[in-house]
């Protein structure tokens, strides 16, 4: 006898908001996974002699697109009237290992080094295409694929047409959404959309689903930017991108490799499973249980603090409105707190989170035992004050003796000094 619950559609605004908050958590839960694997690649750049894109560049592009999906979900949350959602929240930040939220069958998300197993059995499962036509559809909660989950949200947006105050979104709430400061050298050309009406809301959901797992029956090859059309390929666009699922599939097959020259037989010397090119980081680092030298544990805790600062800064962006400036008023520059937050946010990921994580994966957990290296746990860090920047500076200062690379005139310490001085709510 089937135990599946009847299909549950979204019929109220609180239900839509609850689904969008869950969607934000799902999107957030993928980013550390992909970044963790990316950080473990020792090689930099890609040989001009090897074919295909490098796994590293592909993974970076996918990670940035997951951030795009997170911003689209949160923009929609703002547009439908929820301005209270926070990422820097112990109940929102995902823990690893842990089940992917509301997914059926359960998928355990783990922080692990890059490997064929991790790509095939975790990453490809996350982005698994929608249930094929004719297969049994499950209940609304849980879902079988992200496409199924977002399709439910799309229907909810249309059902709630008389309820959602799109006029308010267009008049006021757009100012709180994320729109600027997005670049992705290794991904599609879609950008964070301002969501101000039903059409832009549905377009945002399409971007999330199609970039991730691909549109229904498209075989993983998508127009760039995302548009759904029966006319494939859409001749007026002419650019293509692969879905995340297809990109991961190419990595698993070795088509997008590690990026070293081939040997005399024309074979790539290394794969993503070779220890020569992948740092031997531990699985699912947990600050509470890890056995490591104290400075290494302190560095892991610092990475948690940096990660949480990044999330808190993103929260600050979403509660600080953009200025509306008519083009004819434009002077060369205008002072803008919100703009400073946006610039600081990008810099905190590239100039703070990346260098700290990179330092971790290069460092053995225990000195003299190079077989297992440290990694960023991506855990909640409880700031003790309302001033996270000051706490980051203090943590960094404490680590300089053990990790001098954090200092210098172009290191993490300098970058912290340039961060926006946000105040936690």
């Amino acid at each position: 006898m089937s135990t599946k619950a009847p299909v549950q559609e979204i019929t109220t605004l609180p239900d839509l908001i609850a689904h969008l908050k869950a969607a934000a958590q799902v999107e957030l839960s993928t980013v550390p996974l992909y970044l963790y694997a990316t950080y473990t690649i020792k090689t930099r750049g890609y040989s001009q002699w090897a074919a295909g894109a490098s796994a590293q560049r592909t993974l970076i592009g996918i990670s940035i697109e997951e951030m795009l999906h997170l911003s689209l979900v949160r923009n929609l949350l703002i547009a439908v009237g929820d301005t209270d959602f926070r990422l820097y929240d112990e109940n929102v930040i995902p823990t690893y290992p842990g089940p992917m939220l509301k997914r059926e069958p359960e998928l355990n998300l783990r922080l692990r080094k890059l490997s064929t197993d991790q790509v095939r059995n975790t990453f490809m499962q996350i982005e698994q295409p929608a249930t094929p036509p004719g297969a049994a559809l499950g209940a609304i909660e849980p879902y079988h694929s992200l496409g199924e989950f977002y399709a439910r949200i799309e229907r909810g947006i249309q059902t709630l047409r008389p309820v959602i105050d799109w006029a308010k979104a267009k008049k006021d709430l757009w100012k709180f959404q994320y729109h600027r400061a997005y670049w992705n050298q290794n991904g599609g050309s879609d950008h964070p959309l301002l969501i101000v009406d039903e059409a832009s809301a549905l377009q945002a959901m399409q971007v999330i689903v199609d970039q991730g797992e691909g549109a229904p029956e498209d075989r993983g090859l998508l127009p760039d930017p995302i548009v759904r059309t029966d006319d494939l390929p859409p001749q007026e666009i002419g650019k293509w991108q692969a879905s995340h699922y297809m990109k991961f599939s190419d990595i698993a097959k070795g088509l997008d490799g590690i990026g070293v020259v081939v040997d005399d037989n024309g074979k790539q010397k290394y794969t993503i499973d070779d220890e020569e090119v992948i740092w031997p980081v531990l699985d699912d680092p947990d600050l509470r249980t890890v056995t490591a030298d104290q400075p290494v544990k302190d560095l892991m805790e610092f990475s948690n603090a940096v990660y949480c600062y990044v999330l808190a800064l993103l929260d600050a962006i979403y509660r600080t409105p953009m200025e509306a400036l008519a083009p004819k008023d434009r002077d060369a520059f205008t002072d803008s707190v919100r703009y400073g937050y946006e610039r600081g946010f990008v810099a905190s990921m590239q100039g703070l989170l990346y260098p700290v994580c990179d330092l971790l994966v290069r460092t053995p957990l225990v000195a003299g035992q190079p077989s297992v290296h440290a990694g960023p746990p991506f855990q909640y860090y409880a700031f003790e004050t309302k001033n996270p920047k000051g706490e980051l500076a203090a943590l960094c200062e404490k680590l300089l003796g053990s990790f001098p690379a954090l200092g210098g005139d172009d290191g993490v310490q300098r970058q912290i000094a340039l961060l926006p001085d946000i105040e936690l709510p």
Binding site: Q185, L325, P327, A332, T334, Y339, P355, D410, Q415, L418
Partner: protein, 156 residues
């Protein structure tokens, strides 16, 4: 008296620039002018002491002349290594001017300051040319100084 728009804001609704408003040298940030008076306001006492960029553009590949790439947000590893030193129009990587917290997102200097690399390249050019240069007034524009190309208006 009619108020003129600023020389750096030559949008469709701006007045055409006066001859003295046209930059005599194109560079992407403070401290990168190659001679006295060639910075944006024309007041730099000598090379390397200018206060701002003479070109403003928003993103990758939008520089309309050589040397205009700001770098750091997008672009290939090679492109990103050369802020302010691209060989040709459209070769440049990313927006100008360079803000002070901007770091490279790719390439050999990933995670490191874009402005500092631009200044290193500038100083190398000055040494090669045998020209004296002075200290920069800063290491990029403040992050909260929003260039006009990023202004946003009410959605219609």
């Amino acid at each position: 008296m009619t108020k003129r728009s600023t020389p750096a804001a030559h949008g469709p609704e701006a007045d055409p620039p006066l001859p003295q408003e046209v930059p005599r040298e194109l560079h992407v940030c403070m401290g990168l002018n190659s001679c006295a008076g060639l910075d944006a306001p024309g007041t730099a006492p000598m090379a390397g002491m200018g206060t701002c960029a003479t070109v403003h553009h928003v993103c990758h590949g939008e520089g309309s002349c050589r040397g205009q790439g700001g770098c750091g947000y997008a672009g290939t590893d090679y492109e990103q290594f050369h802020p302010g030193e691209q060989d040709c129009r459209y070769n440049g990587s990313c927006a100008s001017p360079i803000n002070e917290s901007r770091v490279f997102s790719a390439g050999p200097l990933k995670g490191k300051s874009v402005w500092k690399q631009a200044r290193r390249l500038f100083e190398a050019r000055m040494y090669a040319a045998g020209k004296a240069f002075g200290p920069s007034p800063g290491e990029g524009i403040k992050d909260d100084r929003m260039p006009h190309y990023d202004y946003m208006s009410q959605p219609q």
